[in-house]
Symmetry: C2
Subunit: 122 residues, 2 copies
């Protein structure tokens, strides 16, 4: 599963959302780092619908503009949960190895990494 796909499913995990709402949510949960493109979104929405990971929820007309809402299906929630588990396993291995890695500038007995790697490196 690609990153954009994962982010779309995550956006919908909180509840039904329309296209633009998904884009906004992704920008929000990534602290502005990831801006999903419309092309990415709508192609992925079609694909995910075909795969039955999401479904069309309802349509509204607000101020003369259409809003088409999508929601996660149970399959979609399961796929997202499985992906979360897989990502956790992978990041743990990578973090462990990075922590054990000697750096070029370091003396032999360097302590644990300083700086921005917050959160528990195991």
């Amino acid at each position: 599963m690609q990153e954009p796909t994962f982010l779309i499913l995550t956006a919908l995990a909180e509840g039904a959302r329309h296209g633009y709402g998904i884009i906004s949510d992704i920008e929000r949960i990534s602290d502005g780092r990831t801006r999903m493109r419309a092309g990415t979104l709508y192609a992925a929405l079609d694909r995910l619908q075909a795969e039955r990971l999401i479904a069309s929820d309802r349509e509204e007309v607000v101020d003369g503009r259409l809003r088409r809402y999508y929601r996660l299906t149970e399959d979609g929630a399961a796929a997202l949960a499985a992906e979360v588990e897989a990502l956790r396993r992978r990041t743990e291995v990578a973090a462990r190895r990075l922590a054990a890695r000697p750096r070029l500038g370091d003396a032999m007995f360097a302590p644990l990494p300083t700086g921005r790697l917050s959160g528990g490196l195991r």
Copy 2:
């Protein structure tokens, strides 16, 4: 960063490895779930080298066969560390939302968040 790329960098985070060794390691750290194809690997190796995330370490000839070792550069280690952080943030948001999500078997509550979020937010 795509999954295969991440796995290659993770494999090299432990130390220099040759192509086949990377494939074996990835199979090992994924408990046999991911088997990287040779085509994927060597294309990615070329690309990562061009991006200076990895570098050619040394070559050996063992039993008449060439072994070309690759290692992470400092840039590569930094890129992997950044990716680990990004993945952690993403998986946390997704996991939190999935945990808060009402399930099919549950009694129905309103779709918007009600006061029942107090439960086990892991």
